[in-house]
Amino acid sequence: MSKSKQKPIVASQQQIAGSGAFFAGLFGFLFGMTQEMPLIGIAGGIVAGAIVAFLASKYIPTKRLAQLMSVILGGLLGYVQSQVTGAIVGAVFGWTFMWFVYWVATGEYRRRLPSYATPWQVIWHHSFVVLCWAIFLFLITPIIVVMPLSFNAENFFTFTPEMLNFDPAGYSLKHYQDFLTNSDWQSALKNSFLIAPVATLISVSLGTLAAIGLSQPFVPFRRAIMAILISPMIMPLIISAAGMYFFYSRVGLQGTYLGVVLAHAALGIPFVIITVTATLIGFDRSLTRAAASLGANPITTFFRVQMPLILPGVVSGGLFAFITSFDEVVVVLFVGSAGQKTLPWQMFTGLREQISPTILAVATILVALSILMLTTLELLRRRSEKLRGMTPAKSAVKQTAEWRMSVAGGKP
C-alpha cells in the first residue's frame, strides 16, 4: 500500500466511536489499575476514546495528521501525569490509538480476510493474533525486564524514579564491574567454564555411541536400556541429586571436579541420545554397507560417512548437554563443595543472601551469550548445508523440541 494514497473511511460513525471507546477503555482500565480505580479508568477511557475517535474521523482530513495530533496530545497528558516516562507511554498510546481507529475506520482490518468471513470469524481471527502475541509477551517479559534493572545505580531490584525519568544518574555499570572484579563471581565463572565443556564432551561421546548402538535392530532389551539411560531426565532432579550425593561420598567423588563433571554428564546424556536417535531415523543404513563393501572399517565408516550426516543431531544434543550443565544448580549443590561453586550456585546464594543486582548483570550477560551462541550455530549450519547443496532441513533445535514433546507423551 503506498503511503501517499489516503484510504477512504468506510465504517459508520458508530463503529468508529466504538473502536475508539474499546481501545481507550482497555488502556483506561490498565491505567486505572495502577491508580487503584479501574472502573473510573474504564469509564473515562470509553467516553474520551469515543469522542476523540469520532472527532478525528470527521474533522481531521488525513490519518497521518490525526496520528501526529494524537501522539502530541497523549505525550502532553502523559508528561503532566508523570514526566518523561508518562510522555513516552502517552505518545505510544496516542499513536497506537489512532492507528487502531483508522484500522477499523478504513476497513483495513478486513483486508487479509476473505470477503465472506462473518463478523465473528473476523473477531476470532484478530483475537487469535492478539492471544498469540500475549503468550509471547508472557514468556519473554520476565527475561526482558531483568535487563534494564541490571544497569540500576542502586543496590536493589527496584526501578528508581531516576531510572523511570531516563536520568543518566539512575544508571550505572557498577554491577557489571562487580561481576568482573569480584573474586567469588570470577571463580564461579571459571568453574562453570571448566565443568560444562568437559561434561558436554563426555555426554556427547557416550550419548552418540549409545544412540547408534540402540538403533541397531539386533540389540536385545533396546527399549529397557533406552528407558534407563533416559531416566535422569525424567526423574525429579532432587532425587538424583540426593542419590548421587550419598553414592559419590562413599566412593570419594563428592566435592571434586571429577564428581561434578560426571554428574553433569549423566544429566546431559539423555539429551544427546534423544537428538541423535532422531537424526538416525532418517539415516540410510545401506550407506554404511556401501562403505564396508568399499573396504572401510567400521571406525572409518563412522567418522567419514555416518558422523557427518547425523552431525546436526549430535551438535544440538551437545548444546542441550552444555546448557544443562551450565544452568544446573540442584545437583551441584549436593555433589560439589564450596571449591566447585558454579555460576548458577553463586546466583542462587547471591539471590538468597544479598539480593544484589549483580545477579541481574550476570543474567543479562548469559542471555546475550546464549543468543550469540545459538545464532552462530544456526548460521554455521545453514552455511554447511549450502556448501553441501542440501535443501534447508529442519533446524536441529526444532527437531529436539519435537523429540522432547514426544518423550513427554510417553514414547521414548
Binding site: 561420598s249 543472601e353 539480593i355
Partner: protein
C-alpha cells in the same frame, strides 16, 4: 588469608548448616572445616554430637590485658561447642517518607495499622514475632515466656498477630526486608540490624531504625566433630587468629554488629569506607539498647517444635 597463606573457601549456606552437617555426617564425608552458625544452631549441633567441644581458654587467644578467653567472652559462651563472634539483633526499620508525620517509637507500631497503614514484613517463623505480639497485647516483659509456655498464651499471641495478618509480607532471608523497604513495598519490617545499617548508611535509603524491643542473638563458629588431626590443627590456628580481640573489633568496620569479646568494645572504630563512627550504630549502644531481649535459647529449644507447628497451621489458615 594473608597471614598464613592458607586459602579460605567460603560456602554461603550457613542457613542450612544443621541439615547439611547432618547429611555430611551420615554420608561420612564432612567437607567443612569451620562453620559459622547462630547460637541456637550451635546448641543443637553440640547436642547431636556434630560439633566439637572446645576448651575456650586453651584454643583461643587471651585478651591484651591477659584475661582468659572464657572470661572475655563471658556469658556469651552459650554452649561448649560455640565460639561467639558477634552480637546482632533482629529489629525494625521503617520508611521515613511513608510513615507520615508521627514517627513510630515503639515496637507496637507494627500492630497499629490505624496510625501507620501499609504493609509490614515479619520473619516467617514464630520466634521473636510471638514475643512482640504478647508485649503489644499488654503482657509485661518479664512474664512473656511464662505466658508463651502455655497453650492459652500461644493462642493469645497468634490472635494478636491475626489482627495484622493481611498486612504482613513474610520474609525468610535477611535480604528480603531491605529490598522491600527500598521498593517502598512495606512501611516497616523486621530484619537484622546490620542489614538496616547498610540500607540506611551505605545505600542512603529513606529508612530509620526502630530499636525498641530488639532481640539480641549471637553468631559464631563451631568446628565439625571428627576432623583429621591435621585439619583440626589448621582450623584451631585460624580460630585463634580470627577471634582475637583486634580481629573481632575490626569486623565492626564493615557492618554494625557488636564484637563478642568485652575487650574488643573499646577498639571499635570507624566504618572502612564511610568513615563514620560505628559505636552509635551498634545494637549494644546504650541509646539503642533501652529496651531489649536476649534470644531465649532454653525456651525455644523446648518449645520450638510445638509452637512452630501451631504457627505454620495459623499461617496456612
Amino acid at each position: 588469608m594473608e597471614k598464613t597463606g592458607i586459602k579460605v573457601i567460603n560456602d554461603e549456606s550457613s542457613a542450612e548448616a544443621v541439615a547439611k552437617l547432618r547429611a555430611m555426617d551420615e554420608a561420612g564425608n564432612v567437607t567443612w572445616d569451620l562453620v559459622d552458625v547462630v547460637a541456637a544452631d550451635a546448641i543443637r549441633l553440640c547436642d547431636e554430637g556434630l560439633a566439637m567441644e572446645i576448651d575456650h581458654d586453651e584454643v583461643l587467644a587471651k585478651a591484651p590485658d591477659g584475661t582468659p578467653a572464657s572470661k572475655d567472652f563471658g556469658d556469651l559462651i552459650v554452649s561448649q561447642c560455640f565460639i561467639p563472634q558477634i552480637v546482632y539483633s533482629t529489629t525494625f526499620g521503617y520508611r521515613t517518607d511513608l510513615v507520615g508525620d508521627k514517627k513510630p517509637t515503639s515496637v507496637c507500631a507494627v500492630f497499629d495499622t490505624k496510625t501507620w497503614p501499609g504493609k509490614r514484613s515479619l520473619e516467617k517463623r514464630p520466634i521473636n514475632n510471638m514475643e512482640w505480639a504478647l508485649i503489644c497485647d499488654g503482657v509485661a516483659k518479664d512474664e512473656v515466656y511464662d505466658v508463651l509456655a502455655t497453650p492459652e498464651g500461644q493462642e493469645r499471641a497468634l490472635k494478636k498477630l491475626d489482627t495484622i495478618k493481611d498486612d504482613v509480607i513474610w520474609w525468610s532471608a535477611g535480604a528480603d526486608t531491605p529490598q522491600l523497604l527500598a521498593d517502598g513495598e512495606i512501611v516497616m519490617g523486621s530484619t537484622y540490624n546490620g542489614r538496616l545499617f547498610s540500607v540506611i548508611e551505605e545505600q542512603k535509603q529513606p529508612v530509620a531504625m526502630l530499636w525498641d524491643a530488639q532481640v539480641f542473638d549471637l553468631d559464631g563458629w563451631i568446628v565439625p566433630a571428627g576432623l583429621s588431626p591435621e585439619r583440626k590443627a589448621r582450623v584451631m590456628d585460624y580460630l585463634k587468629f580470627a577471634t582475637d580481640t583486634q580481629r573481632l573489633a575490626d569486623q565492626a568496620k564493615y557492618i554494625s554488629y557488636g564484637p563478642a569479646r568485652k575487650s574488643s568494645a573499646p577498639l571499635v572504630g570507624k566504618h572502612a569506607d564511610l568513615g563514620i563512627d560505628m559505636a552509635p550504630h551498634m545494637p549494644t549502644d546504650p541509646n539503642n539498647a533501652k529496651n531489649t531481649f536476649l534470644y531465649n535459647y532454653e525456651f525455644w529449644a523446648d518449645y520450638r517444635d510445638d509452637i512452630d507447628a501451631k504457627f505454620q497451621a495459623w499461617l496456612a489458615k
